[in-house]
């Protein structure tokens, strides 16, 4: 008995016990279904799952020739290009300004994370009515300030920017909260040392705060990009891909082919796998950069 305890108390053995529960859950409920998805993508599956026709890579060929699929990539790319940098930029700025422990910072922080308590359904109906050109208070007030009264979510050119705005509106507070938690983890002695060296606020931020939160920034960057590639729920509750597919992202299109316009489970799964491949490429690249930087910083 004592031997067993001793064996599992070695750091490199205890580590297995520590990762086991999480790894088992992820394997059973994410990785196993993922492997099953590969098989599903090779078939044309009927609605009731009764007939399975093997089509090999036919579903993938179909996807790359599917104009709606290509277009959904353009929409997703546009979304990512705006959402990720603005979200992280704003949250970094906000976090740097409200990372204190005073009452003002406390109140402001609570404000910024308020969207977190609203479900995407609530956010959807909220903004649809708030920006409704006839009865929405938001558009009404903007029109008083001289802005035109436009129906943002039914405008082919503007709808996608409306969604991007709401996504940033919802997300930047959460990113800021994560960054604040990281900033408060930085030892105060580092700031004291920097002040003694005569560093001003900006130099402190640049040489103490930024290195101190770099692993958290990487976390945000990677998860935000993955999240943007998978953006779905806001679009589902606000425009459902319209008008004229102008806000249809990759996952929206996959969802509609799987559940709304006939259930082409095989084809939808094949498209999801293309998305997965793209996300994998981007993340492996970013993850590699992160490891490189952690090694470099670990050296000094």
């Amino acid at each position: 008995m004592k031997k067993i305890l001793q064996y599992w108390n070695k750091p490199n053995h205890a580590a297995y016990l520590m990762v086991a529960p999480a790894v088992i859950v992820v394997c059973l409920f994410s990785i196993f279904p993922m492997i099953a998805a590969f098989f599903l993508s090779l078939f044309d599956v009927s609605t009731n799952l009764a007939t399975w026709n093997f089509v090999g890579l036919g579903n993938f060929q179909e996807a790359f020739a599917d104009e709606r699929f290509i277009h959904s990539w353009a929409v997703t790319g546009l979304f990512t290009v705006f959402d990720v940098p603005i979200n992280i930029g704003f949250s970094l700025l906000v976090a740097a300004l409200v990372s204190g422990v005073g009452i003002r910072d406390k109140i402001l922080r609570s404000c910024y994370i308020l969207p977190l308590i609203c479900s995407s359904t609530v956010i959807g109906i909220m903004w649809k009515l708030f920006l409704n050109p006839n009865v929405g208070w938001g558009i009404y007030s903007l029109s008083k300030l001289g802005f035109p009264r436009i129906a943002i979510f039914s405008d082919i050119d503007l709808a996608v920017y409306g969604i991007i705005f709401i996504s940033i509106w919802r997300g930047f507070g959460m990113s800021a909260m994560i960054l604040v938690a990281a900033m408060q983890g930085i030892s105060t002695s580092l700031y004291e040392a920097a002040t003694l060296d005569g560093a001003n606020k900006w130099q402190q931020f640049r040489h103490v705060t930024l290195p101190g939160i770099s692993s958290t920034l990487w976390f945000l960057l990677i998860t935000r990009i993955i999240g943007s590639f998978q953006v779905f729920d806001l679009i589902y509750t606000i425009t459902n891909g319209g008008p004229a597919h102008s806000t249809e992202t990759v996952v929206s299109y996959i969802y509609s082919r799987a559940f709304q316009e006939g259930s082409e489970l095989g084809y939808s799964t094949a498209m999801s796998l293309v998305l997965f491949g793209a996300i994998l490429l981007v993340s492996v690249f970013l993850y590699g950069r992160m490891i490189l930087q952690e090694r470099r910083d670990g050296g000094n």
Partner: protein, 281 residues
């Protein structure tokens, strides 16, 4: 840190600008949410009127009465709460443990396991949704509480998040713990868990609100009406072409209030934990 010195005009301007910016952002967040909450108390006809007003001209409870008549909303609140609290507590423990091991312990196969986990983070839920449903159906777990919560007992984002916090802690901590005769799990529970309180609270808030507001997962995993959850309840009032804004806002407000309360109480703890854990080496 506390030097008293005269601020230059540039510094005063910067301070003013930052105040304006922070205030503007706060208004941008609060105005639509408050307007929606107020709208729940408007008479149904006055929600859709021109010109719109910020505060209701008349306060009525019609929308709430409508919600209680049409869906068992209190049951939905209970179901949602159970789902959120169980998944949050268990996943917090599992994720923190795994994140700690990945960040600070060297063990065989670590990089391989971590890379596989990372890869699974990139799987859109929609990809595995159908195979996962089939799997749980095969296991007889569809429409059960276990089927709803067990797949949510760990999350790669959570593991990754905790890992990024544990990597920033000073290296001597474990050695000090070992010298004091703590076991490996003792080091984790006595030293590492308390040190990452602010990260844990952050993750608890994210996990709880995520579970509370999840739409697709409960929709997929529950069939019987008595197992449905809040977000499904709100969708009931949102049609593809027309939306019953009055009851939808009322149901939305009912779904927001419990989270808001947890949030207000959590905030106190949140700030305290950050102050007390202010990790000085």
């Amino acid at each position: 840190m506390r030097h008293t010195y005269k601020m230059t005009p540039v510094q005063i301007l910067l301070k003013l600008l930052s105040w304006l910016f922070l205030l503007f952002m706060a208004m941008l967040i609060v105005l639509p949410i408050l307007w929606t909450c107020l709208s729940a108390f408007r008479p149904p006809k006055m929600i859709i009127q021109f010109p719109p007003t910020y505060f209701p001209r008349a306060w009525v409870m019609d929308n709430f009465i409508d919600v209680f008549k049409r869906i068992p909303i209190l049951l939905y609140v209970k179901n949602t709460f159970l789902f959120a609290i169980v998944t949050t507590v268990v996943s917090l423990l599992f994720n923190a443990m795994a994140g700690y091991a990945f960040a600070r312990v060297q063990f065989k196969g670590k990089n391989v396991i971590f890379t596989i986990l990372m890869a699974s983070m990139m799987i859109p839920f929609q990809v595995i949704m159908l195979p996962l449903f089939m799997e749980l159906h095969f296991l007889g777990l569809v429409d059960t509480f276990a089927g709803l919560v067990v797949p949510r007992f760990a999350g790669v984002v959570g593991i990754f998040f905790m890992r990024s916090f544990y990597t920033t802690l000073p290296k001597q901590l474990e050695e000090a713990g070992r010298l004091d005769g703590l076991t490996e799990f003792g080091i984790f529970f006595r030293i590492m868990m308390p040190l990452c309180k602010s990260a844990l609270v952050t993750q608890a808030v994210l996990s709880f609100t995520g579970a509370w507001n999840d739409l697709l997962w409960p929709l997929l995993m529950t069939n019987s009406p008595d197992k449905r959850m809040l977000s499904n309840g709100i969708v009931y009032f949102v049609g593809q072409s027309t939306t019953n804004y009055g009851p939808a806002f009322a149901a939305g407000l009912i779904s927001i209030v419990p989270l808001l309360l947890i949030f207000i109480f959590g905030q106190k703890y949140f700030v305290n934990s950050i102050v007390s854990s202010g990790m000085k080496e």
